[in-house]
Amino acid sequence: MITAFIEGPLWYFALLVFLIGVAWRMFAIVRSGSKPDFSVPRRSVAVSAVMTSLRRFVPRHEMSPRIRLHVVAGYMFHLGLFALLLFAAPHVLFLQENLLGFGWTPMPYWAFILVSQIAFAGLLILWLHRLLNPVTRLISDADDHVAAVLTFVVMLTGCLALMEAFTGLRVLHRFTVELLMIYFPFSRLMHAFTFIPSRAYTGALFGRRGVDA
């Protein structure tokens, strides 16, 4: 009964909250608009937007020594999570059978293990950094910690169910995923969708004024 609920109504509810919530947040950002700027653009707004979006993938030279660990762990976690989400064999199969109707070549098993280890190490280091660094600790609130713990639990339950031998473990993973999907639109996890528009907006704004961003 619990399995049927998690794989049925709760799944559709979570999907609905996720899709509508993300769309609503994005629409709210776009709709908030900006003050009209009548000045003559110093640079191409589009080029500045693209350049800033790309440039922000690499930390500024002046900041590099201070945030090296943060950057490395950040890439370990985010790239690892991205790979697990889209290229883990059970995920590819799930997306093919339940959502998209088509699939793609998944990662081999050894790559899955390696990538998940990298992602776990990255997430753990990032969270410890958040707790132990005075600055990140101060600017963090409950939302950040809940998001970190929830993401960790989702990854962990996914890896614990790796043998795919027990329905209970798979359902547990799915339940935690659904919790994450419901929490996602109301949290800073939204940065997964907003980080590119945010960079682009900043780049466009500063580019128009002729300032590097």
Partner: protein, 363 residues
């Protein structure tokens, strides 16, 4: 009908004779099921083909490999009695010893705490601080701690779950827990090795034996003789814990990798040895961890701060690491509580200094 009666009787008699003869033959045959008690002749030995086959594959004398097309180490051996020996060792020796060691260590810690109430700061807090561990060291410490505790929990479930958890949860639930624990244990094992290498790199230079370490041991860190023995950045007890973590941790990692990737030609004795070393080493390290956690928290006042904020009170440093404290004070590395407060406020932290003494501002 009357004419046929003698013939029918003769036929019945003949049939009866034949049946009796067959029955007599059966009794005389070696396949007769019953033993002849008090018989005049010894019974012929009955060979059960199934039992013979079982005896062959069980290989009580020595492992014998049969012919097979399956490639792999020991793939020709159907049943190896050593597996039973490992099972017996685990069930009859390792698991009871694990329980006894854990309970013993926890009991000693509890007794010590009830009697001594931990080690207090003799002169209270000074309100001045020394930086003991940088941020990278603290991240590394908590990374290793988190991974090890996860490995310890999942490992203990795998080692003792059959005895401890099955009576509580039953076989079905335990099978799910055990499967999850195995996957988690295998996944996090290599992460522990990485952390261990990090610990070795960051702390090895401060953990070599030095003058005074023997004296520290002889005074049992201050429990014998009353006076706290002199120590540098790390005392002899901490050094011993460091090397125990490194050596046992590397052994656990090496044996864990041997067990997790059994396709590099490891034979059965090596796998069994790895299992024993892995289990015994892990239990020792977990027991040591209990002591480490106690000393770092309730067992020694103001110790935990070194691994949370990174700063320790000068009086704590003088009491437990006097040589290091003297060196820091000579270098002028002491930070006044107010300065530390301002420094951390500048960095954006209001409440980072642990248990600051009351100040005019505070009052």
């Amino acid at each position: 009908m009357n004419n046929n009666k003698p013939g029918r009787i003769r036929c019945a008699a003949a049939l009866y004779s034949v049946l009796m003869a067959l029955f007599a033959l059966m009794l005389a045959s070696p396949f007769a099921p019953q033993a002849r008690a008090g018989g005049t002749e010894p019974a012929a030995k009955v060979v059960n083909p199934g039992a013979e086959l079982w005896r062959e594959v069980r290989q009580r004398e020595a492992p014998q490999a049969g012919a097979t097309q399956v490639a792999g180490m020991d793939s020709g051996v159907l049943i190896n009695v050593r597996g039973e020996q490992w099972r017996q060792f685990r069930m009859e020796q390792l698991i009871p010893a694990t329980g006894a060691l854990m309970a013993g260590v926890l009991g000693i810690i509890l007794l010590f705490h009830l009697v001594k109430r931990g080690v207090r700061l003799e002169h209270g807090r000074s309100g001045n601080y020394l930086l003991r561990f940088k941020e990278i060291d603290r991240i590394l410490h908590w990374y290793v701690a988190t991974v090890f505790i996860f490995l310890a929990l999942t490992g203990l479930i795998l080692l003792t779950g059959r005895v401890v958890l099955i009576p509580v949860f039953g076989h079905e639930v335990f099978s799910v827990i055990a499967s999850a624990s195995k996957e988690g244990h295998n996944l996090f094992g290599p992460l522990f090795l990485l952390g261990l290498i990090g610990l070795l790199i960051r702390f090895v230079s401060k953990n070599f034996p030095a003058k005074g370490d023997l004296g520290w041991f002889l005074k049992a860190g201050g429990f014998v003789g009353g006076k706290h023995p002199s120590a540098g950045f790390f005392n002899a007890g901490e050094k011993m814990w460091f090397w125990l973590v490194i050596f046992v941790g590397l052994t656990l990692s090496a044996t864990g990798l041997i067990l997790e990737f059994p396709f590099f030609g490891q034979d059965r004795p090596m796998m069994e040895l790895s299992l024993v070393l892995h289990g015994v080493g892990a239990v020792l390290l977990i027991a040591g961890l209990f002591g480490h956690i106690y000393v770092g928290t309730a067992g020694m006042e103001a110790s935990l701060e070194s691994m949370t904020s990174g700063y320790v009170d000068v009086n704590w440093a003088r009491q437990h690491h006097d040589q290091w404290a003297e060196a820091c004070e000579a270098e002028g590395a002491v930070i006044a509580g107010e300065d530390l407060k301002k420094k951390q406020q500048l960095r954006g932290t209001k409440n980072r200094v642990p248990n600051r003494p009351a100040t005019e501002e505070g009052q």
